[in-house]
Subunit: 214 residues, 2 copies
C-alpha cells in the first residue's frame, strides 16, 4: 500500500522534474512546483527540507538509469550488438525520462555543482570502462581505429539531443511530439553512422567474454 506520504513525495518529485527541466534550478519557484503538484508549498519543504535537496533527488533519479544504459558493455557480445543495444538504451532514456535527462544535461553544462563526488566517480568509471572496451575491439581488429573517446562523446550527444534539445527538434521537424517511428528512425540513423563509421560488420564471430578494462 502506498501511504499519503509516498504519494505526495511522488507528486512533488514529478512536478519538480518538469519545472527544473523547463526553467533550470535557479529560475524554478518552489511555489510553482507545489502548484503543479496540487499541494501547498510548505509540504514541499516538509518532505524535502529545501529546494536544493529536492533538486538533488531529481538529479539522483537519472543516475541509475544512466549507469544501467551501459549494461551492454558489461556483458559479452560482438561490437555491433553492444553498440546497437547501448544506443537504443540511451535513446530510450531520452524518450522515457525527458525531464530528468534535461536536468542532468543542465547540471553537466554548468560544471556539475550539485553532483556528488561519488556519483561523478561512478559515471566516470563506467565511461572509462566503455572506452576501454572500444579500445580492445580496435586492438582485436573488430573495428576500425576510431578514437574511443570521441566516438563515445558523439554517441552521448546524438542520443541525448532528443531530450535536451526537443524544442529545436520540434521546430525543425514541425512535429510537437515525436512518435514511435520518429524515435525508430533516430535510433537507426545513429546506429548506422556508428557501425558503418567504425566499419563494424554484423556479428561474424562469437565473443564469449565481456571486456575487462583496467
Amino acid at each position: 500500500m502506498t501511504s499519503i506520504r509516498e504519494r505526495n513525495k511522488e507528486l512533488i518529485l514529478r512536478a519538480a522534474s518538469e519545472e527544473f527541466a523547463d526553467k533550470g534550478f535557479a529560475a524554478t519557484k518552489t511555489s510553482d512546483i507545489a502548484a503543479k503538484a496540487g499541494l501547498p508549498k510548505p509540504n514541499v519543504y516538509y518532505y524535502f527540507k529545501s529546494k536544493e535537496n529536492l533538486y538533488r533527488e531529481v538529479l539522483e533519479s537519472i543516475i541509475e538509469p544512466l549507469l544501467a544504459a551501459s549494461a551492454p558493455f558489461n556483458q559479452p557480445g560482438h561490437p555491433s550488438e553492444v553498440l546497437t543495444a547501448y544506443i537504443r538504451s540511451k535513446i530510450r532514456i531520452s524518450r522515457e525520462l525527458p525531464h530528468a535527462s534535461k536536468v542532468f544535461a543542465s547540471e553537466i553544462m554548468h560544471g556539475a555543482p550539485h553532483l556528488s563526488a561519488e556519483q561523478t566517480k561512478q559515471l566516470n568509471a563506467q565511461a572509462r570502462h566503455n572506452i576501454g572496451c572500444i579500445q580492445s575491439w580496435i586492438d582485436q581488429g573488430l573495428m576500425a581505429p576510431v578514437d574511443p573517446h570521441h566516438l563515445l562523446f558523439s554517441i552521448w550527444a546524438a542520443t541525448q539531443t532528443y531530450a535536451d534539445f526537443d524544442w529545436q527538434i520540434s521546430t525543425v521537424t514541425g512535429k510537437a511530439r515525436l512518435d514511435d517511428s520518429d524515435y525508430e528512425a533516430a535510433a537507426q540513423t545513429i546506429i548506422r553512422l556508428v557501425l558503418k563509421g567504425c566499419e563494424i560488420s554484423p556479428a561474424a564471430m562469437t565473443v564469449k567474454e565481456p571486456c575487462h578494462s583496467l
Copy 2:
C-alpha cells in the same frame, strides 16, 4: 579609435558571456558580471538597460556565426566537401565561442524564451535548406538514404557537445583543456562517422551548383 564606451561595452559583454554560460540566466548576478568586467554595477545598467537586454545581446552574438557555419551548404560542392566543411565550422564555433555556444544551448534547452521570432525563422530556414540539400543528394544517388533530419541532429549534437558539455569531456579525458590535436581528432571522428555512415565517397564528380531547396 575605440571610445571608452565601446571598450566598456565589450568588457561587459565578455564578462556576461562567461557568467551566463557558467551559471545560466537566472542564477547569474549582474553584480558578478560587473565585478568580472572590473566596473561598477550601474555601468551595466547604463550601457545595457536591463539584465535581460544584456542577455539578449550575448545570445544574438552567436546567431550570426551559427548561420555562417552553414555557408558550405549555400555553395556548390560535393557532399563530402560540404559536410566536411560544415562539421569543421561547427567544431570551430564550439572551440572559439564556447561561452556564447553554451548560452545558446541553454536557451534552446529551455524552449528558447528569449529568441526572437525573426531569429527562430532564420535558423529554421537555414536548417530546412540544409535538410533539402541532403535530400537532393540522396535523390541524385550521391549518398545512402539516411534520414536528413536525424543526420543533421546528430551533426549538431556531436559538434556542439565540445562546448556545451566541456566539463564532462574534461572529466573523462582527464584534460582540463583540449588542444589542437584533440579538436582535430574530434573533427576527424565526426567526419568519418558521417561520410562512411552515409556511404559518401570522396568527390568523384564535379557539382557545379548549390542545391536549391524549396
